[in-house]
Symmetry: C2
Subunit: 621 residues, 2 copies
C-alpha cells in the first residue's frame, strides 16, 4: 500500500499547488469564459512575471555569457522547410477513433492506461499476466502502428467514455496546419520547434560570425503541437515557449575552451548502461563523465554543466534533477549522443531540457532540399596532400542488373564511408562479386566488380569544407516553470495554528514581485511614506505591490507569501520601516531613504538576506 499512499500524497500535493496557482492567477485556462480549450493556458500577472524573469536569466546565463547570436523568426513556416526537416512526414502520434462518435484518442495512452489500471486495481491478476503488462509498458514507445492495434484489439480496449469499439491506429500529424496567402496553394504550419529558423539561416550567421566556428545561435519563441488529447495540465500543452540553442562545431574537434569551468560540477546522471542494467542514477562529476566517454564530447558536457547551473540557480532542487541519457532506441539514427535534464515533480520525472548532439543531420537536410550549401571552411596555412576516396558506380551495368532499383543501389554505393568502401573493394578484387546491403531496399544485392570502381586519389587541398555538427540544448520553459512551482511550494501553520498557509519560496531572481509595501494602519502620513518608497522602488526598477487595505499585517503577509514575494516593507513610522523576509520571517529596521537600495541589492542577488541582516538592527514584532 505504500505506493498507493505515495501516489495519493503526490496528488494531494499537486492539488494544493495547482489550486494556489490558479486562485492567484499564476495561470488561467485560456478562454475560460467560453469553457476553455484543452491544452491552452494563459500566464496571469504573477505567472507572466515569473516567465519574464526566467527568460531574462536565460538570456543572461546563455546568450550574454557565451556571446550567442540571438535570432527571432516567425511561427508561420512554409511546408518546404518542415518537409526538409522531416516534420511533415514524421511528426505524428498514433490515434484511434471511437467508431461511433468519432472522438479521437492517442493509441498509446489507452494501452498505457489499460495496463496501469489492471496492474494497480485487479487483485486476480496472475503473475504471468502482470509480467506481460509490465513488459508492454516498458516497450510502449517502440510499438509500431500494427503492434499497437493488435494489443488494443487483443485486450478488447474500448473508448473510455462510450465503451464503443475503436478504429485501427493511424498517424496524426501534430502540426497546426494553415495556408499562407489568399490562393490556398501555399500550405504552411505553425512551427513545432524554433530550431529550423536557425538552421536555414546558418550561412548568414556563419558569415556574421566572421566565418569562424564554433559559434552558437539562440532563439526564444512560441512553438505549437496540436496534441490529440492533452493531459498532465501545464506539462503537455498545445502552445508553449521554447528557448533553443544551436551550437555549431567542427565535427573533428568538439572540445570546449571553457569546459574546465564546469568540469568539477557533480550531479545526478543516469547513463544508458545504468538504465538498461536497472541501476539507479548516481552522482558523477561532468569532467569524469566526459573523460570516461559516458558523455560523448566536451561541448555536450559543457552544456550539460551550464544547464545544471541554470536550473539550480532558478530554484530547482538539485536532488530532484537528473540528466538521463537517451537509450539507443529513443535516439534519432543520426544523433551522436543525447541527454535530457529531467526534473521530478508530482507527475514523475519530466523531460524539461533536451541536450543533443545532432551531428550534421539538419544542415545536410536543408542543403539537400534547398540546394544552398550549408557548410563551413577551414583554410589550411599550407596546402595539404590528402587522399580522397573516389567511388564511381557504373550506371549502365547497374541499370541492366537492377532496373527500377538502380537509383537506390547507386545512392547506397556512393554513401559508403571509407571503411565500407575499402572492404567492398577488397572483396570484389578477391571474389569478383560481393553481397551489399541497400538500406532503402531493405535487402542485400549482389555487386559485381564491373559495376563500381573504388579508388583512393591524392590531391592537394587548400581548405577543408565540411558540414558542422550541431549541439542543441532545447528548453521547455513552461515545464521548467511548472516544476519550479512545485519545488518552491510549501505550507506552514498560521500564527494561531488553526490553518495551513501556502508559501512559494522563490529565489529573488524568479519572484514575480520583489517586495510589498504595507502602511501598518490607514493614515495619510503612512500612506505618503508608502508612496514615496514606491516611487523610489520604481526608479531602481524593482517591482512591488502596495496594499493600503486595513487588513491585519499577518493576513497581508500571508497573501503575498502565496505569491512568493521575498520581502515585505511595513510602514510603521515616518523615518524608518520594518523589512520582513518571507521564509525566515525575520525582521529588520531600515531607514526610509535606504530601503529601496536594500531591496534592490537583495533582489539582484548582490546580497543575501544573511548579508543584509548583519547590517541592520533586528525588529521583533
Amino acid at each position: 500500500m505504500d505506493a498507493v499512499q505515495e501516489a495519493q500524497n503526490r496528488e494531494a500535493f499537486r492539488h494544493a499547488v495547482v489550486n494556489t496557482l490558479e486562485r492567484r492567477l499564476f495561470y488561467i485556462p485560456s478562454f475560460k469564459i467560453y469553457r476553455g480549450v484543452a491544452g491552452l493556458y494563459d500566464y496571469g500577472p504573477p505567472g507572466c512575471a515569473v516567465k519574464s524573469n526566467v527568460l531574462a536569466f536565460w538570456r543572461q546565463h546563455f546568450v550574454l555569457e557565451e556571446n550567442m547570436l540571438e535570432v527571432d523568426c516567425p511561427c508561420v513556416t512554409p511546408e518546404v522547410v518542415l518537409k526538409a526537416s522531416g516534420h511533415v512526414d514524421k511528426f505524428t502520434d498514433l490515434m484511434v477513433k471511437d467508431e461511433k462518435t468519432g472522438t479521437c484518442y492517442r493509441a498509446d495512452h489507452l494501452l498505457k492506461d489499460y495496463c496501469k489500471d489492471k496492474l494497480e486495481k485487479d487483485p486476480n491478476l496472475s503473475a504471468d499476466k502482470a509480467a506481460e503488462l509490465g513488459h508492454v509498458l516498458a516497450v510502449l514507445d517502440d510499438l509500431s502502428s500494427e503492434e499497437l492495434g493488435a494489443k488494443i484489439k487483443g485486450y478488447k480496449i474500448t473508448a473510455p467514455d462510450t465503451k464503443n469499439s475503436l478504429s485501427d491506429p493511424y498517424p496524426f500529424n501534430l502540426m497546426f496546419q494553415t495556408s499562407i496567402g489568399p490562393s490556398g496553394l501555399s500550405p504552411g504550419y505553425m512551427r513545432p520547434e524554433t530550431a529550423q529558423g536557425i538552421f536555414v539561416n546558418f550561412k548568414d550567421l556563419y558569415y556574421y560570425n566572421g566565418n569562424k566556428l564554433p559559434f552558437a545561435a539562440a532563439q526564444i519563441g512560441q512553438a505549437f503541437r496540436n496534441e490529440i488529447s492533452p493531459r498532465q495540465g501545464l506539462l503537455r500543452v498545445r502552445e508553449f515557449t521554447l528557448a533553443e540553442i544551436e551550437h555549431f562545431v567542427d565535427p573533428d574537434d568538439k572540445s570546449h575552451p571553457k569546459f574546465a569551468e564546469v568540469a568539477t560540477l557533480e550531479f545526478l546522471m543516469f547513463p544508458r548502461e545504468d538504465q538498461v542494467s536497472g541501476r539507479a542514477a548516481r552522482r558523477i562529476a561532468i569532467g569524469e563523465a566526459v573523460a570516461q566517454g559516458i558523455v560523448n564530447n566536451e561541448t555536450l558536457g559543457y552544456f550539460i554543466g551550464r544547464v545544471y547551473l541554470f536550473l539550480t540557480q532558478l530554484g530547482i532542487d538539485k536532488d530532484r534533477l537528473r540528466f538521463r541519457q537517451h537509450l539507443a532506441n529513443e535516439m534519432a539514427h543520426y544523433a551522436a549522443d543525447c541527454w535530457d535534464a529531467e526534473i521530478e515533480c508530482s507527475y514523475g520525472w519530466i523531460e524539461c531540457v533536451g541536450i543533443a548532439d545532432r551531428s550534421a543531420y539538419d544542415l545536410r537536410a536543408h542543403t539537400d532540399k534547398s540546394g544552398v550549401l550549408l557548410v563551413a571552411h577551414e583554410k589550411f596555412t599550407e596546402p595539404r596532400e590528402v587522399e580522397k576516396l573516389v567511388i564511381t558506380p557504373v550506371k549502365k551495368e547497374l541499370g541492366l542488373a537492377f532496373k527500377g532499383s538502380q537509383k537506390m543501389v547507386v545512392e547506397a554505393l556512393e554513401a559508403m564511408d571509407e571503411k565500407e568502401a575499402m572492404e567492398l573493394k577488397a572483396t570484389l578484387e578477391a571474389k569478383g562479386e560481393a553481397e551489399f546491403r541497400v538500406c532503402t531496399l531493405d535487402r542485400a544485392v549482389t555487386i559485381k566488380s564491373n559495376m563500381v570502381s573504388i579508388s583512393k586519389e591524392k590531391k592537394k587541398e587548400h581548405q577543408r569544407v565540411f558540414t558542422p555538427s550541431v549541439i542543441e540544448p532545447s528548453f521547455g520553459i513552461g515545464r521548467i516553470i511548472y516544476c519550479l512551482y512545485e519545488h518552491s511550494f510549501y505550507t506552514r501553520p498560521s500564527r494561531d495554528g488553526d490553518e495551513q498557509l501556502n508559501v512559494f519560496g522563490f529565489p529573488p531572481l524568479v519572484a514575480p514581485i520583489k517586495c510589498t509595501v504595507f502602511p501598518l494602519v490607514q493614515n495619510e502620513q503612512y500612506e505618503e511614506v508608502a508612496r514615496k518608497i514606491a516611487r523610489s522602488l520604481t526608479a531602481v526598477g524593482i517591482t512591488y505591490k502596495i496594499d493600503v487595505t486595513g487588513t491585519s499585517i499577518g493576513k497581508r503577509y500571508a497573501r503575498t507569501d502565496e505569491l512568493g514575494v521575498p520581502l515585505a516593507i511595513t510602514v510603521d513610522s515616518t523615518s524608518s520601516v520594518t523589512v520582513r523576509e518571507r521564509d525566515s520571517k525575520q525582521q529588520i529596521r531600515v531607514n526610509v531613504d535606504e530601503v529601496a537600495s536594500v531591496v534592490k541589492e537583495f533582489a539582484d542577488g548582490v546580497s543575501t538576506w544573511g548579508d543584509v541582516l548583519w547590517r541592520y538592527p533586528t525588529h521583533s514584532s
Copy 2:
C-alpha cells in the same frame, strides 16, 4: 519636378538604410534559402537585440511605471472568441483574382496604383480627370465592394503581371485559419491582435486588482494577418509583435491621477477638424488639447503623452512624429475617440501606435456571446434612490402586428436609451402611435400605444453595476523599430574622404551592442587585457563585441558604427585604454579597472557622454 526629386531622394535613402540593415543582419527575409515567403522576416542578431531592448523599455515605461497586470495568452484562438469580437465576420480586405491565372490582388491597391500612376506619369491628363482621380484616392478607404468593382471595370484595370481581366472584388478574411485538435471540428485562428486574450480575462483580472477600477492589463506577443499581397517591406508583414494595453476605467470618470505629469508636454497634433479643413498638424500641449475637448478625456490624453515620451526616448525624431485623430469615417461606431501616433519615414506617415477609447464595446460583446457578465461594481456608502427606465414591450400585440419581425422590433424597443424612450412615450401619449426605426430591419415601423409601456420607476440601490470603458494603446513594435532605423541612420565621409560610411546613431538604450573591445595590435598582452575587460562587461550585464582581427582601427570603428554601437574600447596599453564615442568621435583615456563601470553608467543612461567626457582626460589619435 520637386516632388519627383523628393520621391527619388526618399527611395535612395531607404535603399541605403535597407541595404545596411540586410547586410548587417538586422533582419533577414525568412526562409531565404527557399526563396522566402512574402511578408515574413527574421530579426537577425543585432535586430533581435534592438527588439529586445525596445520591449524591455516598454515594460519599464508602461507596465512597471503604471503597475499594469501583464498577461501572456496563446496565439491559437478558438473561433467563438473571434466571432464575438467581430473578426470572423469583418476582418477582411477586398480581393480580386486574375481570371486566368488565379493570382490574387488587393482591389484597393490596384485602384490606388492606377490613379497614382496616371497622376504622376500621364502628361495628357485633363484637369477634370486629374481631379476625379484625386477624389478617388481621397475616398479609397470608404468604397464598398460594388463601388471598387465598378471603378476597376470603369478604368479597365487589368492584372498587373498578365494584363488578364480581373474578377469582381470579394472579401478575403485576413486571419490564418487552422483546426484545433484532431477531429477537424474545432476551427481556430492565429490571433490578429493580443487584446482579446485580455478582454476574456477581465473578470479574473478585476478580482486580482481587488475589484477596483481603474486598472490596466498589458500583453506583448505575436499577432498574425494573412495579407493578400504584402508590400512596403518591413511595414506590412504577415506576422508581427504587438504590445497592447487595455486600461479599464469607469465611463463616468475618465480623469487620470497622473495627468498633471504629462499636461505640459507639447507636440505635433493633427485633430480631425484640421484634417478636414486642410490645415497642417500643429504643436499643442496635451493639457490644452484635453481642456479644449480636442482629446476626449484625461486618460486618453495621459496615454498620448506617455506614448510621446516612449517614442522620443527610443530615438524617434519628435519633428517626424504626430498624433493624428481618426476621422469620423475611420472610427468604429462604438469608439469615443481615437488617435494614431504616426511616424514619418520614407514611405510617408506610418501608423505605429493606435490609442483608442473603445468604450464598452469589447466587454459587452464577450458578455453577450459567453453569458458571463464582464462588469464592474461601485458600492455606495449610502444606498441611493435612482430612477430607472422600464421598457415593457407587449409581445402579443407586437406579434400580431409584425409576425416574423417581432423579435427585431422587441429588441430595438428594449435597446432604446433614456432620451429615445421618453420621446417615444411622449409621441405615443400625444398621437397614439409613432414611427420607430428598427436598425436590424433597415426600416421604420409604426408603433401603437398598446404595443409598449414605458415608465420610470424609483428604486433604492446599494451599488452601481456597469461595463467599464476600455482605453487601448496598441503598439506595432516592428513598425516602430523600422522607423527608428530610418531616424537613426546617417552617413559621413571616411577619414580620407573617398567613401561615405554608414552610422546608426541609436541611443544607448536601444543600441544592440553597447560597446566593442579592440586590441590595437595583435599581441597576447593586449588580448589578455581585452578578455579581462570582456569578463568585467559580462559581469555587469553589458553586451559587447570583441574584434581581435588585425584590421585597422578605423575600419573596425566603421564596421561597428554600422551596427550602432555607441562606445568603442581600444586596448592600446595594459593599464589604461581609449574609449571613443560613436557620433562625436571624441576619445578619452580610462583605467582598465574602471572602464566597465564607465560603459555601464553610459549604457544605462545614468550619465551622458558629456558627463563622462568631463571626468576623464581626452585622447587625440
